[in-house]
């Protein structure tokens, strides 16, 4: 029997993997993918509670998050592509141009 606890543990684990990925990896693509992980951890949470509380709003919210994630991926990948064309690198440490 899969209980609510299982869902929460899974989503927490996924979220933590995402956070660690964002903080530690230098490749911006990987950082990007880690952000997606975090979003999907949240989605699992939303759906789990939706089922638990028998309220469909959670699922609607999850669909919304997926949409926003898709849009975010499109914009983010576009920025990355443009940056790569200029700098020929995807190292996140090089992305400090707006500094003082």
């Amino acid at each position: 029997m899969v209980t609510m606890t299982h869902y929460l543990v899974l989503s927490t684990a996924l979220f933590m993997i995402g956070v660690i990925g964002v903080l530690t990896r230098r490749n911006i693509i990987v950082v990007f993918m880690s952000i997606e992980l975090m979003l999907n951890a949240v989605n699992i949470n939303l759906i789990a509670f939706s089922q638990h509380l028998q309220n469909v709003v959670g699922q609607v919210f999850a669909v919304f998050v997926i949409c926003v994630a898709a849009a975010e991926a499109a914009v983010g990948l576009g920025i990355i592509l443009a940056f790569y064309r200029n700098k020929e690198t995807v190292n996140i440490d090089e992305m400090s141009l707006m500094r003082w």
Binding site: I92, S96, R99, W100
Partner: protein
């Protein structure tokens, strides 16, 4: 007669062709021929127009041609507050007065054109064509002045002849004195024109029209301003100021003697026969107005007689042959104004005509003398020219006898008519005029004696070559072979004018000598209001002006008197006001006056003959004994010096004063405000630089220094920020959980 507009236009055309093309391309023959042809055509047209005018009945001798509209009708306020219609056509009017002037201008003008073809022959081709262009242009404007049917067209001609006078006086513009004289004539004339144009404005303001006939008819319905100085007096006074400028009367006569710097034909045409009589013509043209202003008539008469006397006395001692004639012209113009002033308009116009003949003759004769003497104008260096210049001598003698007033030459009739009418009007003015007549005879015979009689005093010449210069050898015109008779074009002109000087007087044969004074009857309609029109058509002819016509139905002296007696019509108004001596002398009295004036002339001639031919030393002794008077006369009463010291110097002083004011005060104010601006902007610049910029920089510097430690935090690395965010979330969540 529909073609009268062509009369001025033909010389205008000649001037345009000669002026545009002739100066560059025409030889002397073509240029001279063109100018003479246009004048001849104008003369023929004038003669034809005159003939057509004569066949009309006396009352209807008036013919209008309105060629074009110049200023189309526009509303303009009159002095009584109503709105009149101001419109000016290019209108020409032929009436007895303008017909007479037309014949004088075209006739004398044509002869002088012919004369000039020979006289100006030593000029270069371009200068020759220029001369004829100017001369033709002058005739164009003069004919426009004469034929214009309203004040404005007359004013166009008036200014135009002034311009041509300036151009022709300054014809030899390389010569300083000639260009100065041109400027002097132009400027002095401007003063008169100022009065004339003010008069024109006032005419329009008063009568609502500028047409001569309409003005005369309207004025004919007004009362004579015998008691006071009304608007008509003001108008006529202003018009007379214009006339004094153009016709060289006191106080504006000073330009005419200097105008003799121009070529002699110009002096003859412009400064003796035609242009200077424009003022007389203008006064005659407005005879109705003038006869309604007896005070101004008295002024005109007094100015005229004083000018005549003063110019004659100056003429007594001048030595330049042309200057003597110039002062004589001023003097004779004074006679004409005297005639106008005593109301003898026809006599003035008659003298104008006869004067045109004999004065043009005298000037052209003097031109022949100057030509013979190779440019010498000083009579002290002439003498005994009678035998070298027989034709010139005879013709000039005729002219001199005419101007002196010896019957039956033309000057006698016109001058005697003036003297007679003056005698009726005022005894003391007549006395002055008679003295002037004596002086006239004297100085004219002095001129003749010094020039043609006595001993030869001029430069010597190589004898034996007297007749070969016409052959045109290498020496040609350059060498002077003594005085010689003028070329044929000149002598023929002299003879034609001499005939005119003899015969012109007979048209004005006085009734006392069993003549019928044809000229006076002929001219009379021009000097009177049409009384029928004045009485019945007052309201429409006078435009918007309120004449109060019903108040004075019969106070129209011109019409009254002309109904009584045509002979005396135009003098009536003036005579009444001059002390009531009007009326007639008996025939014997009139003849007695004539004999007296002939005697005066003979005395003048005799004295001159005695002083300058029989015993030349007497003149010198007299000059020595009356040295003071002689000096005053030789220096022309110091009038030029007086004007120089007052008017010219006053103008110059006030101009330099204004200039100094301009330089110091006005420029100083401008410069001062400039300096003030510069100073204040410099001050403002300092304020800006140190205070405002200082504050801004201070704020910047403070912030820069204060932010130094904080900017280290901005690493620009995304992951640092994310880490900080994470810690922040931890901290807040922990705080939330713990504090619950």
């Amino acid at each position: 007669m529909d073609l009268i507009w062509l009369i001025p236009l033909l010389p205008g055309l000649g001037a345009a062709i000669n002026g545009i093309a002739g100066i560059r391309f025409f030889g002397k023959r073509v240029a001279g021929l063109l100018a003479c042809t246009t004048m001849a055509a104008a003369l023929l047209l004038s003669l034809n127009a005159f003939r057509l005018l004569l066949v009309l009945p006396a009352g209807e001798r008036e013919f209008d041609v309105q060629l074009l509209t110049w200023i189309s009708a526009m509303p303009l306020q009159l002095s009584d507050g109503s709105i009149g219609t101001f419109s000016i056509p290019w209108g020409f009017r032929l009436d007895p007065l303008s017909a007479m002037m037309l014949l004088v201008v075209t006739g004398v003008g044509f002869l002088i054109h012919v004369y000039s073809t020979a006289y100006m022959h030593e000029e270069t081709d371009g200068a020759y064509a220029r001369f004829f262009a100017y001369l033709n242009l002058f005739c164009f404007f003069m004919l426009m002045l004469v034929l214009g049917d309203n004040f404005v067209v007359m004013f166009v001609g008036w200014e135009g002849v002034g311009l041509c006078s300036y151009l022709l006086i300054g014809y030899w513009y390389e010569k300083q004195s000639a260009s100065d004289a041109g400027k002097k004539a132009f400027i002095v004339n401007r003063i008169g024109d100022w009065g004339f144009i003010l008069g024109i404005f006032l005419v329009y303001m008063t009568f609502g029209t500028l047409d001569f006939r309409a003005v005369a008819d309207a004025a004919g319905g007004l009362p004579v301003e015998a008691g006071g100085f009304g608007v008509i007096s003001l108008i006529t006074l202003l018009l007379f100021v214009g006339a004094t400028g153009k016709s060289a009367q006191i106080p504006l006569y000073v330009w005419l003697p200097d105008a003799m710097e121009g070529p002699t034909p110009v002096s003859a045409l412009i400064h003796a026969a035609t242009m200077v009589t424009a003022g007389v013509y203008m006064v005659g043209r407005n005879a109705v107005l003038f006869s309604h202003a007896p005070d101004v008539m008295l002024i005109v008469a007094v100015v005229g007689v004083l000018t005549a006397l003063m110019a004659a006395t100056i003429g007594l001692v001048q030595n330049d042959i042309k200057r003597v004639l110039a002062y004589s012209t001023v003097s004779q113009l004074g006679y004409m104004f005297l005639a106008m002033g005593v109301g003898a308009f026809a006599a003035g116009a008659f003298h104008l005509m006869t004067h045109a003949f004999f004065k043009a003759l005298l000037f052209l004769g003097s031109g022949a003398v100057i030509h013979a003497m190779a440019g010498e104008q000083d009579m002290r260096r002439m003498g005994a020219l009678k035998k070298y210049l027989p034709v010139t001598f005879v013709t000039m003698l005729i002219g001199t006898l005419a101007i002196a007033g010896i019957p039956p030459l033309s000057g006698f009739f016109s001058k005697d008519e003036i003297l007679y009418r003056t005698f009726l009007s005022s005894r003391w003015i007549w006395g002055l005029a008679a003295v002037t007549a004596l002086l006239t005879a004297f100085y004219m015979f002095r001129l003749m004696s010094m020039t043609f009689f006595g001993a030869y005093r001029g430069p010597v010449w190589q004898p034996g070559h007297g007749h070969d210069h016409a052959g045109g050898g290498a020496s040609g015109h350059a060498a002077w072979h003594g005085p010689h008779e003028a070329p044929r074009a000149m002598t023929i002109t002299l003879m034609a004018l001499a005939v005119g000087a003899i015969l012109a007087g007979f048209v004005g044969m006085p009734q006392a000598l069993y003549g019928n004074n044809a000229i006076e009857r002929f001219l009379e309609p021009s000097f009177t209001a049409r009384h029928a029109a004045a009485a019945s058509g007052e309201h429409d002819s006078a435009g918007g002006i309120l004449l109060a016509a019903s108040a004075q139905p019969a106070r129209d002296p011109a019409s009254e008197e002309s109904a009584q007696e045509s002979h005396d019509a135009e003098g009536g108004a003036a005579q009444e006001s001059h002390g009531g001596e009007g009326g007639h002398l008996s025939q014997a009295g009139e003849i007695g006056l004539m004999l007296l004036s002939v005697a005066i002339a003979l005395v003048g001639i005799g004295v001159a003959y005695r002083f300058y031919v029989r015993a030349p030393q007497i003149a010198e002794q007299l000059a020595a004994r009356w040295a003071g008077a002689h000096r005053v006369l030789s220096n022309k009463y110091y009038v030029d010096e007086l004007y120089g010291a007052t008017v010219v110097r006053g103008t110059m002083l006030s101009a330099s004063g204004l200039w100094a004011f301009d330089a110091k005060v006005v420029d100083g104010a401008v410069n001062g405000s400039g300096w003030l601006t510069i100073f204040s902007s410099w001050f403002s610049h300092l304020l800006d630089k140190y205070l405002v910029d200082g504050l801004v920089n201070f704020v910047g510097a403070v912030l820069e220094n204060a932010s130094f430690m904080f900017r280290k935090m901005q690493t620009g690395l995304v992951q640092n920020y994310a880490l900080v965010m994470l810690f922040g979330v931890f901290a807040f969540v922990s705080l939330y959980l713990l504090s619950r």
